[in-house]
C-alpha cells in the first residue's frame, strides 16, 4: 500500500501559543484515517496547514502529497491537487440550488458562459453517487443538515477529490444520517479515495477507521493501526486525555422533591405555516432535584418544545397550561419566562448563546444585569467579582474574565453560557444538547455541573441526541417523536433499545 500524504515535523505558532509541535501524520492511499484529540489539541490547525489556509512559510515542517513535496500558498492550490476539506460549519449558499452550489467557483463554462445543462446532468450523477434523492434544482435552504452534508460531499467529488477531509461531519447529524454518511465513506474507500475523519464520536471511529492518529496539546501521541487489532473506546480516550477515564459519567445521588414545572396540553404551530402543529398535546413535569431527559431523533420537536416553553421563542398559537410549584405562570415572553424561573441553554451556543465579540464578564452578566447594577448603573467591581466567581466555579479556562468568548474552546464557551443562566438563578434549566461538539474531558465537567444543579434543588431538563448520555445522567426519561411524547420511563429501566422501540412503535401505529 502506498503513502498518499505525509506531514513531517509540522510546527505552527500563534502569538503566545504553540499550537502544533513537531506533528507527524502518514495517510496510506485508500484508507480512512481518523484524527482525534480533545478540543484545543490542534486537529483543525493541522488540517488548515494541510489545506493551505495557513500558507507555506507560516509553519515549519514539510508536506509530501503523492510523493512530492508541496508548498501550498492558498486553499485553491491544495484543491487543485484533490485535497478537499469539508468544514464543521457548512459553506453552502442557502438561497442557491444544489447545482449552483456544487459548481460554485468551478462552473462548467466557456468564456464565462455557464453550460447549465452539463452542470445539471453532472449534478444528477453526483447526487446519485452520494445517495441523495433530491432534484438538482432544490434550494439548499430547503434541505436538512444531513442532506446539506451530502451536497458538500458531492461538491468535493465534482472537484475530483483524492483526499477528503471531514471535520466533525456527524456532529449535527442524527444516528441514521450519521450511519449513511459513514457508509458513504466506506464506499469511497473501495473506489480508492482516502479520507481523513476528525470526530469526537469514538464509536464511529472505531467502526470505520483503518488507523487513528491521536493528538494531545499540539503533539502526536500515537498512530494506532486498527486493521491488526480491535480498539476499544476506552483505549482511545486514555490516549487522548493521557489518563484512564474509568467513569464517563460522574456518580450521583438523587434527592427528588416536589414538582417544580408542570406543562399541560402544550400545543404549538409552525411559525411560518399556520395550522401545522409542530408540538402536539405534550404534557410533562419536572421535580426539584431531578434530572429529566428528553430523548428522540433529530427533528422530533424537542428544541421547538423547549423554545416555545421559554417565552414562545419559537412558534405561534402556543396553547397549554404552565404551572410552577402548582401555581399557573405566564410564559408569553422571554422576560416573563426568565422572571418565572426558567432558563434555556441553547444547542447553538455560537449564534444563539454568546455575544462572541464580547468578553466572558459581559456574557456572564447579560441576563441578570440588574443583579450587578443599581438604578441602571453597573457596579464594575461587583460585576468583576461575579464573573471571577463563575470562572472559578465552572473552571472556565481562559487568560482572565476579559478574554473574548470568540477565542474560547467549545467546552469553555458552553460553560460561559451556563454561567450566564446560573447567575440568573432559575428554578428550572432546560439544557439543549449541552455537550454537542465538546471533548470528553469537558463533557465530564458539564455532567458534574448538572449534578450540582440538581443537588442544589433545581429541576434540570436535558435534551440530547446521544442516548448513552441521557441514560448516564438522568433520573427519568421522556421519549419524543414527531411532536408528541410517546413514552416515559425511569432511567434505570431504560435502554437504547427500549427508546428506539418506543419511537418505532409510534411509526408502526401511524402507518
Amino acid at each position: 500500500m502506498s503513502i498518499i500524504l505525509e506531514m513531517r515535523g509540522i510546527s505552527k505558532s500563534f502569538p503566545g501559543v504553540k499550537a502544533l509541535r513537531d506533528v507527524n501524520l502518514v495517510v496510506q492511499s485508500g484508507e480512512i484515517h481518523a484524527i482525534c484529540g480533545e478540543n484545543g489539541a490542534g486537529k483543525s490547525t493541522l488540517m488548515k496547514v494541510l489545506s493551505g489556509v495557513y500558507p507555506h512559510g507560516s509553519y515549519e515542517g514539510e508536506i509530501f502529497f503523492e510523493g512530492t513535496e508541496r508548498r501550498f500558498s492558498s486553499i485553491s492550490d491544495s484543491e487543485h491537487l484533490g485535497i478537499i476539506i469539508i468544514h464543521q460549519e457548512l459553506a453552502l449558499v442557502p438561497l442557491l440550488s444544489i447545482t449552483e452550489n456544487i459548481f460554485l467557483g468551478n462552473e462548467p463554462a466557456t468564456m464565462g458562459v455557464i453550460d447549465w445543462n452539463v452542470a445539471f446532468l453532472r449534478t444528477r450523477e453526483l447526487l446519485a453517487k452520494v445517495g441523495l434523492k433530491e432534484s438538482p434544482n432544490t434550494l439548499i435552504t430547503n434541505l436538512g443538515v444531513g442532506k446539506q452534508q451530502l451536497v458538500e460531499i458531492a461538491k468535493a467529488l465534482a472537484k475530483k477529490v483524492k483526499l477528503l477531509i471531514l471535520d466533525e461531519p456527524t456532529a449535527s447529524l442524527n444516528e441514521s444520517d450519521s450511519d449513511a454518511l459513514l457508509e458513504l465513506l466506506l464506499e469511497f474507500k473501495s473506489h480508492g479515495i482516502s479520507s481523513i475523519l476528525i470526530s469526537h464520536k469514538l464509536n464511529e471511529l472505531a467502526r470505520v477507521a483503518d488507523s487513528i492518529t491521536v493528538l494531545r496539546d499540539g503533539t502526536t501521541v500515537e498512530t494506532i493501526d486498527c486493521r491488526t487489532q480491535t480498539i476499544s473506546e476506552g483505549r482511545i480516550i486514555k490516549s487522548m486525555v493521557g489518563r484512564e477515564m474509568s467513569e464517563r459519567y460522574p456518580p450521583r445521588e438523587s434527592h427528588i422533591g416536589e414538582t417544580l414545572l408542570e406543562i399541560r396540553d402544550w400545543r404549538v404551530e409552525h411559525p411560518l405555516h399556520a395550522g401545522r402543529e409542530v408540538i402536539k398535546n405534550v404534557s410533562f413535569h419536572v421535580k426539584r432535584g431531578e434530572v429529566l431527559g428528553i430523548a428522540g431523533l433529530m427533528g422530533a420537536g424537542r428544541t421547538e418544545l423547549a423554545m416555545s416553553i421559554f417565552g414562545q421563542a419559537y412558534g405561534r398559537n402556543v396553547t397549554g397550561q404552565a404551572l410552577m410549584q402548582g401555581r399557573p405562570i405566564d410564559l408569553s415572553s422571554i422576560q416573563r419566562a426568565v422572571k418565572n424561573g426558567l432558563a434555556y441553554v441553547t444547542e447553538d451556543r455560537k449564534s444563539l448563546g454568546l455575544i462572541l465579540n464580547e468578553d466572558i464578564k459581559n456574557n456572564v452578566t447579560l441576563v441578570n444585569l440588574p443583579g450587578v447594577a443599581q438604578r441602571g448603573v453597573i457596579d464594575d467591581r461587583k460585576e468583576a467579582k461575579v464573573a471571577t466567581e463563575y470562572r472559578a466555579k465552572l473552571r472556565i479556562r481562559s487568560s482572565g474574565i476579559l478574554q473574548k468568548t470568540l477565542n474560547l474552546s467549545g467546552g469553555n464557551q458552553q460553560k460561559v453560557v451556563l454561567s450566564k443562566w446560573l447567575f440568573a438563578e432559575p428554578q428550572v434549566l432546560i439544557l439543549d444538547e449541552p455537550t454537542r461538539g465538546i471533548d470528553v474531558g469537558a463533557k465530564y465537567e458539564i455532567y458534574t455541573i448538572i449534578n450540582e444543579l440538581a443537588a442544589a434543588g433545581k429541576g434540570v431538563i436535558v435534551i440530547s441526541s446521544e442516548m448513552p448520555e441521557l441514560l448516564g445522567i438522568c433520573d427519568r426519561l421522556y421519549v419524543m417523536n414527531e411532536g408528541r411524547f410517546v413514552d416515559e420511563m425511569p432511567a434505570r429501566e431504560a435502554s437504547q433499545e427500549r427508546i428506539m422501540a418506543s419511537i418505532m412503535k409510534q411509526y408502526g401505529t401511524a402507518a
Partner: protein
C-alpha cells in the same frame, strides 16, 4: 477548534496590561493622527489653525457634528444606520424659525417643542425599523427625502430669521465671565492682559484636575481588585497629555472670548454618553444587541424596544443640532443640514465603529468628528476648493477603516 493559550487560574498581570494596551491602541493611534493632522495644518497655515479665534470657530462648526455622532454611534452599534439626520436638522430649524419669527413664540418653549418634535420623528422612524422590521437604510432614506422636502415646503425658498438674541446665544454665545474680587484682581492686568477670560480658564483647570482625579481613582480601583490596568508610566503619560491639552485649549479660548456655550453643551453630552455606554445597563444591552441580536433576545433583552430607543435618542440629538445650526446662521434655510449625515456617519466609522454593529466607543467617535472638522477647517483656510475637500475626506475615511480592518485581520 479554538486554542487555549494559558491554563491560568488568575489574571496574568503582565500580559493583561499588554492586552489592554492593544485594545486601546486604536484610540491612541486615532488621537495621534488627530494631533499630527493638527500639527500639519498649523504648519501649512502658518499658525492660523491654532489661533484663538479659529479654535473657537472650529468648535462652533463641529459641535453639531459631534452631538449627532453621539446618537449615531448608538444607532450603528445596534446594527442600524440613520441617513435622515441632515434633513431633520433642516426641518427642525425651519419649524423653530417659523414659530419664533412668524408666530412670535418665545424661544424657551420653542426649544422644548423642537426637541419633542425630534423625538417624535425618531419614534416614527424607530417604529418602522424596530417593530415593522424594515431595514433602517430604507426607512431613513425615506425620512431623508421626506424631511428635506417638508423643509422646502415650509420655507418656500426663503430664509426665515433673525432670531432673538438669547436664542442665538445657544450657538454663538460664550459663558459669562464672572468677575469676582479674585478674578478681577487677576484681570487687572498682571497676567495675560485685562480681557483674559479667567472664568473659562478656571473651568479648564478644574476640568483637567477632575480628569486626573477620576482616572487615578479608577486606576487604583482596578489595581486593588486585580483587574487589568495599563502600565503605570503609560497611565501617567496619557493623563498628563490630556490634562495639558485641556489646559492649553482653555488658555487659547480664554484669551479670545472664553468658552463657547455649545462647548459646554457638547462636553456635558460627551460625558453623559460615555457614562451611558460604559456604565449603564441600557448601554451594555445595546452593545450586546449589536453583537448578536438573537443571543441578546434569548437572554431576555427586549431588542425591539432598544432599537426604537436609539432612534428616539437620535431624533432628539438631531433636533438639538438643528437648533444650534439655526442659531449659528441666525436664520433657517432650505439647505441647512444638507449632507450632514455623511460627516456624522464618517465620524463614527473613522472613530472605530463597526458597520456590522456591536463595536464603537464615544471617545473614538468624538476624535473622529474632530479629524473631519480639522480637515474641513484647515483646507478652507488654505483655500482648497470644496470638491477637492470631498476627495481628501473620502480618502481619509477609507484609510482609517482600512487600517482598522487590516489590524483586525492581522492583529
Amino acid at each position: 477548534m479554538k486554542l487555549e493559550p494559558i491554563r491560568a487560574t488568575g489574571p496574568d498581570q503582565a500580559s493583561a496590561g499588554a492586552g489592554l494596551w492593544k485594545n486601546n491602541l486604536r484610540e491612541y493611534g486615532l488621537l495621534g493622527s488627530l494631533l499630527v493632522i493638527m500639527a500639519f495644518f498649523e504648519f501649512v497655515t502658518s499658525g492660523v489653525l491654532l489661533a484663538p479665534v479659529n479654535i473657537t470657530n472650529l468648535i462652533l462648526q463641529n459641535s453639531y457634528i459631534v452631538i449627532m455622532a453621539l446618537g449615531m454611534l448608538l444607532i450603528i452599534v445596534a446594527g442600524n444606520i440613520d441617513l435622515s439626520v441632515g434633513s431633520i436638522v433642516g426641518f427642525v430649524g425651519a419649524i423653530a424659525a417659523t414659530l419664533m419669527v412668524d408666530y412670535k413664540m418665545p424661544w424657551v418653549p420653542v426649544v422644548g417643542i423642537s426637541l419633542l418634535l425630534g423625538a417624535a420623528i425618531g419614534a416614527a422612524q424607530g417604529y418602522f425599523v424596530a417593530f415593522a422590521k424594515i431595514p433602517s437604510f430604507i426607512v431613513t432614506l425615506g425620512g431623508m427625502l421626506i424631511f428635506r422636502g417638508l423643509t422646502g415646503n415650509i420655507l418656500l425658498g426663503q430664509f426665515v430669521g433673525p432670531f432673538p438674541k438669547d436664542f442665538q446665544a445657544i450657538s454663538s454665545g460664550f459663558i459669562t465671565d464672572v468677575t469676582g474680587p479674585f478674578t478681577s484682581a487677576l484681570s487687572d492686568g498682571f497676567l495675560f492682559g485685562p480681557s483674559f477670560r479667567w472664568t473659562s480658564m478656571l473651568i479648564g483647570l478644574v476640568g483637567a484636575a477632575f480628569l486626573i482625579f477620576s482616572s487615578t481613582r479608577r486606576w487604583n480601583n482596578a489595581k486593588t481588585h486585580t483587574l487589568e490596568t495599563e502600565p503605570f508610566a503609560f497611565f501617567v503619560g496619557k493623563n498628563l497629555i490630556f490634562a495639558i491639552l485641556i489646559v492649553g485649549f482653555s488658555y487659547l479660548l480664554a484669551s479670545y472670548r472664553g468658552l463657547p456655550n455649545v462647548l459646554i453643551i457638547m462636553g456635558v453630552l460627551i460625558l453623559l454618553y460615555t457614562f451611558v455606554t460604559t456604565r449603564m445597563t441600557i448601554g451594555r444591552r445595546v452593545y450586546a444587541l449589536g453583537g448578536n441580536r438573537l443571543a441578546a433576545q434569548l437572554s431576555g433583552i427586549r431588542t425591539e424596544r432598544l432599537i426604537f430607543a436609539t432612534f428616539v435618542n437620535m431624533g432628539v440629538l438631531a433636533a438639538l443640532a438643528g437648533l444650534i445650526v439655526a442659531a449659528r446662521l441666525n436664520s433657517a434655510t432650505p439647505s441647512a443640514g444638507n449632507s450632514f449625515e455623511l460627516d456624522v456617519i464618517a465620524a463614527c466609522f473613522i472613530g472605530g465603529a463597526s458597520a456590522s454593529g456591536g463595536v464603537g466607543k464615544v471617545m473614538g467617535v468624538v476624535i473622529g468628528a474632530f479629524v473631519m472638522g480639522v480637515m474641513n477647517n484647515g483646507m478652507s483656510i488654505l483655500g482648497i476648493g470644496i470638491y477637492w475637500q470631498y476627495v481628501v475626506k473620502g480618502c481619509v475615511l477609507l484609510a482609517a477603516v482600512y487600517v482598522d480592518v487590516y489590524q483586525k485581520n492581522n492583529g
